[in-house]
Symmetry: C2
Subunit: 188 residues, 2 copies
């Protein structure tokens, strides 16, 4: 997606040879107009799939999923990472390792909000080593819903997330794929 790649080149920053920092428009400050373009693009790619729910994970996925949901006209469900008094006890759950935060956490979705009749699109901001995406995939499996695909805004193509998802025959659509980071430059 040309507009997104241009935005990444203009405002994104490479840290070391691994981190693509896009916090000026995607995951700390949020450019809502860019998100509208992103939402439209996901809709274009998945509109034939009769999506009934968009599933994401707190926190950075929520804005993208919510704006995308406008185009599909379906509810969003976001997986919780932390225990809360307000969460049901009857949940689908999966253990996920975060490389950026360097710890395991449990993700949880109330059983009320995903079921076998759902056609589910998973949306997230980043795909790197695929751990969050696989966690959400496992949540969908538990719900017996139909996973129609995963939509990612920025894929780090030099890590193994894509391989892990394709092994499970998941349809993966990434709007920008960073091939590598070289001498502080982001290359698509």
């Amino acid at each position: 997606m040309e507009l997104l790649e241009q935005k990444i080149l203009k405002e994104g920053k490479a840290l070391g040879n691994n981190i693509v920092k896009v916090d000026s428009f995607l995951n700390h400050q949020i450019d809502i107009n860019l998100l509208k373009s992103i939402g439209k693009e996901f809709y274009k790619r998945f509109e034939e799939e009769n999506i009934t729910k968009i599933l994401t994970i707190e926190a950075s996925g929520i804005a993208i999923a919510s704006i995308t949901a406008l185009y599909f006209n379906v509810p969003v469900v976001f997986a919780k990472k932390t225990q809360s008094l307000n969460l049901d006890e009857d949940v689908y759950t999966n253990k996920v390792y975060s490389y950026t935060k360097n710890k395991y956490y449990d993700i949880k979705v109330s059983k009320k909000y995903l079921n076998k009749k759902d056609n589910i699109l998973i949306i997230d901001d980043f795909l790197a080593r695929g751990q969050a995406a696989l966690g959400l995939y496992n949540i969908v499996k538990q719900s017996k819903g139909n996973l129609k695909g995963i939509g990612i805004v920025v894929e780090k193509g030099f890590q193994d997330g894509r391989k892990l998802l394709l092994e499970k025959e998941i349809r993966l659509e990434s709007l920008a794929i960073v091939k590598k980071i070289q001498d502080g430059k982001i290359l698509f």
Copy 2:
């Protein structure tokens, strides 16, 4: 806001005499069409304020802030609750106590995304004892930006959040105010 109160009466649940559970449409599963109405209502109430940024806090505030931002056509900034490799070191920060999670946490906003030229609208899902709202207020103070008001979706009017915010002469707009919970019923 009538539509919101009807939704709370229809789908919300009272737990004990304190918790208003709205996870079927606001903070776990998200009804995007309801959020559009909510966003429009916030815009109606604050459109004269020349808002330049919407500030919220992860995770439940993000969807509401993002949809609301469509009407104001401004960026969203969400305060982070957890340390991440991707967050700048140069941040505004404040310590916040969460009664629902029963612990203190630090909230952080990169200094790049709020400054003295900003007219800021704080948006959050709930107001109860006002701790998150006061934390965001303190972040705005540090940035020297102009706080134009706080927009809340559901206020628990029987707790002291409103009092604490009004003492600071903050303009507070809550779209639904729960007066009390009695015999398992939510009363406005």
